[in-house]
Symmetry: C2
Subunit: 125 residues, 2 copies
DNA sequence: GTTTTTGCAAACTTTTTGCATGCGG
DNA sequence: CCGCATGCAAAAAGTTTGCAAAAAC
């Protein structure tokens, strides 16, 4: 890891779990992948640390659980969340101009945005 | 209300609280506004009912609480959430073409999307 | 050796649920 | 009246926290 922090086993396990998955994961999902080799609380603490240091990005898809995805390697992107099967696909799109317009006309200093789509994937239509 | 459902006091109170506020409210906030005149559980049940019937729209701004806003009257819009003071402003933007592109290239049947911006409002910059 | 991090257990917060009672139409 | 909706209380579910023990460096 980095950030002047220690590279411990629980942290390795979290990174490991996240990097083996291509979809955002909940804390529970990450925890399940590491079979008692670290505590759930450590998972949460690690995710908080990594989120603050922009190593992971946090998402909410509306079911009350936060999901996390490694930033490393991933382009900036958004998600298509199937409301039937729960599957998640990545979408990339160039929304740059749109964001600029919002920034300009609002006077807000926009640091990040979440854009998620909900609907039905091809299999579920 | 409608939906073939009964217009009861708790439901009136929820609609009332929501219509007197111009920002999305949490269940707790709604509950607080109605001073023991209805139960929190009824607030949740009402919000669920109204969400399913598209009378309210549900949002998540990343703090683990769901927020609700009356659809009635409001144009389709998005939010600017200040990460410092928590204030929420509405933004309107024409993102139509962008949405179409995503729909076309993904094969997803998109039913709705959430787009929220996080940053610093003018006062907090 | 000292500081950071962990595991465990307990607490907290938000949301959901069961059930007997009560209100709306 | 009759069934849907409510209040209350208890339970889920997700996340956070305190603290002594253990691991990094």
């Amino acid at each position: 890891m980095k950030v002047g922090k220690r590279m411990t086993r629980p942290r390795k396990l979290v990174v490991d779990a996240l990097s083996k998955n291509d979809k955002p994961m909940t804390a529970q999902e990450i925890y399940s992948k590491m079979k008692n080799k670290a505590d759930l609380a450590s998972v949460y603490r690690t995710l908080e640390l990594m989120t603050k240091n922009n190593l992971v990005q946090e998402y909410e898809f509306g079911d009350g659980k936060k999901r996390y995805e490694l930033v490393n390697g991933h382009e900036h992107h958004h998600h298509l969340v199937c409301q039937h099967c729960g599957n998640v696909e990545d979408v990339e799109m160039k929304e740059g101009e749109l964001m600029e317009k919002v920034a300009n006309k609002s006077g807000f200093k926009i640091e990040r945005h979440n854009l998620e789509f909900f609907g039905l994937c091809q299999d579920c239509q």
